[in-house]
């Protein structure tokens, strides 16, 4: 949903400045847009704009977290059994992948600031690999849910909750059978699971796509000329998506595993 509006600033390509009309009494760097007085003002403005955009993302996920907190409180037993359907190893590996990708992204920003093109490209590629790895594991998990008919909708099936011994994950977690009405409410858990991780995955896909674009531009030497706002802003976005996952992992995967 949240189509990420990245500003394709033309400022990266060297532009011959024709600031004649206004008798620019200060030199205009190639990547400085005409309506900014100084380059610092432009960097500050774009950084601040990025943070405001992240604010809208916080409020967007806020709606889902409100729904999660209410329904978890209402249907706790259903949330426990349904959460046992998720595999902690896969979730844990995903969290590690995302945290490492956050690290490599931060290192990428550092190498852009230090104008090290090779390090920048390496870091971006590592982040790309870790990001796609995360999405790969996500597709595995989604595939598992689709197989077991745990996708909310008409075909949602309750038998792994009504008859836990027929279900491998439930057996491992030693769940006991849920009464029918509570079993029905596991569908609410899976709607929240798919809505939250789905929205998160959508943001990951957009992030990975922009990463691919950035790698191409970085190889062309775009971000190591001292103008790093694009890398910095993407770094903020990537870290935000990582933070969302940092909250999603315990809230969805680790519901009373003892």
């Amino acid at each position: 949903m949240a189509r990420k509006k990245k500003r394709w600033s033309l400022s990266d390509r060297p532009v011959i400045v024709t600031g004649v009309a206004e008798g620019a009494h200060h030199e205009h760097l190639p990547y400085q847009r005409h309506h900014f007085e100084t380059i610092a003002q432009q960097n500050d403005a774009t950084n601040f704009a990025m943070w405001l955009f992240l604010l809208t993302e916080i409020m967007f996920f806020g709606g889902l977290f409100t729904a999660y907190l209410i329904y978890r409180n209402w249907y706790y037993p259903a949330f426990v059994s349904a959460s046992h359907q998720l595999s902690i190893p896969l979730g844990g590996v995903n969290t590690l992948l995302l945290i490492c990708s956050s690290f490599t992204m931060a290192m990428g920003v550092w190498s852009a600031e230090m104008k090290k093109k090779g390090a920048l490209v390496l870091c971006l590629i590592l982040t790309f690999i870790l990001g796609t790895g995360f999405l790969g594991i996500k597709t595995v998990e989604y595939g598992e849910k689709i197989e077991k008919h745990h996708v909310p909708g008409i075909h949602y099936s309750l038998n792994s909750f009504l008859y836990p011994d027929s279900d491998e994950a439930a057996r491992v977690a030693k769940d006991h059978a849920l009464p029918l009405d509570m079993a029905r409410h596991t569908e609410i858990y899976f709607f929240l699971y798919f809505a939250m991780t789905g929205m998160h995955a959508l943001h990951m896909i957009i992030g990975v796509a922009i990463l691919a674009f950035m790698i191409a531009r970085a190889q062309a030497g775009a971000y190591t000329t001292g103008h790093v706002t694009f890398v910095e802003n993407f770094g903020l976005y990537w870290h935000f998506v990582d933070i969302v996952w940092i909250f999603l992992f315990p809230l969805l995967y680790l519901i009373s595993r003892h």
Binding site: Y75, P77, L178, D181, M182, R184
Partner: protein, 343 residues
């Protein structure tokens, strides 16, 4: 051009109280508005460019700012407290209120009296008696509104909501649905007929459907075989429902709850969340198998069940159940009270 009204009739006990607050607020608003209009017009006349060509720059005065912050805040807080009192009064029914169930469904109101009278788009109530409405909707949001009584409550699907009133003057008043609910929203209207107690009794007798709500509930109780578990045999799988209404139950998940209409409805539709202590969670859910009217009949039946005599009478077939072979039905003691379901 039939009768042309400018203010709704005051036909309930709460109406004059709410109108008092309403007119206080109208008065405050009129005073506020006249102050603003007086200020604007007088300054415009006194300091128009013709009479006062050179403006005098004034920074402001914290004294004035304080006055027109504190005075409005004070007035609004008075209105807040007064309004909250009325709100609590309207939405907290008295214990002795006579209960009528109202089911809203797309584009008609169905009122169900305890005595078994069923009304479509109309509501007959006695004058001078507290009447509590327990509202539920079968599909979308509706809102049960009687302007003459100044009461309005939303009927929402999935939960009982209540409102109460005490009619004061006999007559026929408008009933509206005030929450947009689809195509015939504007035809989901009706009449609230307030009658003297005698007329009401005559109406009750004249329009009964033969079986009281509780009797309907009893029939449903039997046909859904609730008695298979909820009988008073020592090895009964479900708790005995005699005198359960109004008692405080301790739940299996800890905590205790007052067994009111809402709890009984939830226990029927989502039993596992409302399990009483000491019983296995084996009660199936009846969500989708019994209509809102059915749940209302069951709740009414349970509310009137003050002994298990009737349950045993109607369920001597339990002796035929496989696991009870050889065990004779324990002799049912006829309870002191009349033991019949109250009409």
């Amino acid at each position: 051009m039939t009768n042309f009204a400018l203010f709704p009739p005051e036909a309930s006990k709460i109406a004059p109280q709410m109108d008092a607050l309403y007119f206080f607020m109208v008065l405050v608003s009129l005073i506020g508005l006249t102050i603003v209009i007086l200020l604007v017009t007088s300054f415009s006349l006194l300091y128009s460019k013709k009479r006062h060509p050179v403006a005098v720059q004034i920074e402001g005065s914290t004294m004035l700012e304080a006055t027109w912050t504190i005075i409005p805040l004070g007035l609004f807080l008075i209105m807040f407290v007064w309004g909250a009192l009325i709100y609590f009064r309207v939405y907290t029914p008295p214990a002795n209120a006579m209960n009528i169930y109202v089911v809203g469904k797309q584009w008609m109101w169905k009122a169900e009296h305890a005595g078994g009278q069923h009304e479509i788009n109309s509501l007959h109530v006695p004058v001078g008696r507290a009447v509590q409405l327990t509202l539920i909707s079968q599909d979308v949001f509706h809102s049960f509104s009687i302007p003459a009584f100044r009461v309005k409550r939303e009927a929402i699907p999935g939960r009982y909501t209540t409102v109460w009133f005490e009619a004061t003057t006999p007559g026929t008043y408008h009933l509206f649905c005030t929450q947009y609910c689809g195509t015939e929203h504007s035809h989901m209207i009706g009449d609230v007929v307030v009658m003297t107690p005698e007329d009401f009794k005559k109406w009750l007798a004249g329009s009964t459907s033969g079986a009281s709500l509780a009797q309907n509930g009893e029939r449903l109780f039997a046909s859904l075989s609730c008695a298979a578990c909820h009988n008073t045999r020592p090895d009964a799988r479900g708790p005995s429902l005699a005198n359960v209404y109004g008692s405080r139950l301790s739940l299996a998940s800890g905590g205790s709850v007052l067994a009111d209409d809402a709890y009984l409805r939830e226990a029927i539709l989502n039993p596992s969340q409302h399990l009483t202590q000491g019983y296995a969670p084996i009660m199936p859910t009846y969500q989708g198998q019994v209509s809102e009217e059915g749940v209302i009949a069951l709740v009414e039946y349970i509310k009137n069940l003050n002994s298990d005599y009737r349950v045993q009478q109607t369920t001597n077939t339990t002796v035929l159940l496989p696991e009870s072979e050889g065990k004779a039905t324990p002799a049912a003691q006829k309870p002191a009270g009349q033991g019949m379901v109250k009409q």
